[in-house]
Point group: C2
């Protein structure tokens, strides 16, 4: 992460901006956990709650020509739930802040979005407990989710150790391939389009990973490569990959840089890998795929000996 | 609250839409507390957390010609904290979802917003514990706040009983008067402009009200009249007001319909009013102002014998 200066005219990336915000908050108030997708908040009675917020914006994260309002709602909640999955938390509830244009159709658009949210909430056993509706030029959905680790500890991005095995819960790139398909032929069906329109947070997988004691975890929201780099950055380590599992119908570039796959990347102690895999099998989940190894040198970020670019989705914020 | 039909072409109000959303969620999944600004989420270990989300959007809630990005950040967090105040909760932490345009200046705009959020967080002892940054056409800030009632019960909008005394924590309309002043002369100073740019959530007042046992509470976010109606709707009661406290420099219309005052309206048992007022005084807070009485007939909503219109800010969602 670089050190951008205020007033510069070239764009600042999301990661750079988050780093600057973290610095500015550190000065004034307590700011914790800002490197993780979700934060753990201690409660006065000794418990804790895991909480995360995720927003999706029309024209940036979705295009209503390629998916329905219900898909937008589904994706908004699943994206937020994926942050809980990446911490190993079980969802307790969601809050929805919805902005829709004050034009004819805004009301039915809102109801469509909420229908998709209700479907995703039902599929994830995560009740919608509150919300806020507002007008805006573009459709925007910000979803906050609360979760629990039932007295355990959250799994963070930081924590990967040299020698750890890197696993991923499944092949990547199907969502990006689905978007490519839909852009070519709006209304296309098939598995890839469904992967794009209706991704699923890996909540059960995250739970097994946490209780199996993985050292670090992140969800593939912005791209396998970028999210691997983020896990490695937070852990101050490097990685050497032997394999990148590519979803059928997707390209390797889509697998590395596509994002919205919501598979989980796990860093697991070398002597605990059998336990991890057994845990997945015992829970009836697909076996995780071993991708490579964590290494000590943080500059080493390789796939089959070649450097891995930070491929993935980042907002450029001018 | 009416029963709008899908597909109609005239605008649907925020309250109507929230009612419809509530209905649609009720069908599929558990949806609780959607009449309150904040929700109470039960935790598996027996505790609970109070949580609320509030979003502000450029061109709808604020105009960057009339206030700075730091004011936008301050107001976004205070607006969310006011929802906790209205439940009698103490803040534990905040999450910020920030959307800014990907144009030149978006980075410094983000930092300005975050600076105001950090200031409000410091003033409220509410640490920022997480967030999300994204690009968008318009600036949008969605703030989620978590709070606790320390083993007690939250105060809701529902609960006002016939015979209760209605109190408000202070005079209203200063924020709207400040906006009027700023529109006439951008950059104007003075108390009214500060009331608009830097409102303060009544957290200490909400805490005293809760521990004093008030029956119902709401914050004046959208307009004293509208928020009184909402409290009365939720409680299925009416009200008779003798007085509407108007802030110096504001008009009665601004006091009734202006919003963003963040004063708290409390419904208090007639034999507990002395205790309530003493609690405020003992805590070093301004004495609450008695406005009138709750009545049994839900159709009676009067000020000095005249009907009170639902004056206030509501999004019209087409």
């Amino acid at each position: 992460v670089g050190s951008p200066k205020l007033g510069r005219t070239h764009p600042i990336t999301e990661d750079e901006l988050v780093e600057r915000i973290r610095g500015s908050l550190r000065g004034g108030i307590e700011a914790r956990d800002l490197t993780d997708d979700a934060a753990s908040v201690e409660l006065p009675d000794g418990g804790s709650v895991v909480v995360s917020v995720d927003s999706v914006v029309e024209g940036i994260h979705f295009d209503l020509a390629l998916c329905g309002p219900d898909d937008v709602g589904w994706k908004a909640l699943m994206g937020a739930l994926s942050d809980l999955a990446a911490m190993g938390a079980r969802p307790l509830g969601a809050l929805v802040a919805l902005c829709v244009p004050a034009t004819s159709g805004g009301g039915s658009l809102s109801l469509g979005v909420m229908e998709g949210i209700a479907q995703a909430a039902g599929a994830s056993a995560c009740p919608v407990v509150g919300g806020d509706v507002s007008s805006a030029r573009d459709v925007m959905v910000a979803v906050t989710v609360l979760g629990t680790v039932e007295g355990g500890q959250v799994v963070r991005r930081a924590g990967a150790r040299p020698g750890d095995a890197l696993f991923v819960t499944g092949p990547c790139g199907a969502s990006a391939a689905g978007l490519r398909t839909l852009r070519r032929h709006a209304g296309a069906g098939g598995e890839l389009a469904v992967a794009y329109r209706r991704p699923v947070a890996r909540l059960a997988e995250g739970l097994v990973a946490r209780t199996s004691g993985v050292h670090a975890m992140i969800d593939v929201s912005d791209g396998l490569a970028l999210d691997l780099h983020r896990l490695a950055d937070a852990s101050a380590v490097g990685f050497e990959l032997d394999v990148v599992p590519v979803a059928p119908g997707a390209t390797q570039t889509e697998a590395l840089g596509g994002g919205e796959d919501y598979e989980l990347v796990m860093s697991c102690a070398p002597d605990a890998t059998a336990l991890l895999v057994e845990g997945f099998v015992a829970a009836g989940l697909r076996q995780p795929i071993r991708m490579g190894t964590v290494v000590d040198d943080a500059r080493t970020r390789q796939l089959s000996g070649e450097p891995v670019a930070r491929l993935g989705w980042q907002h450029n914020l001018g």
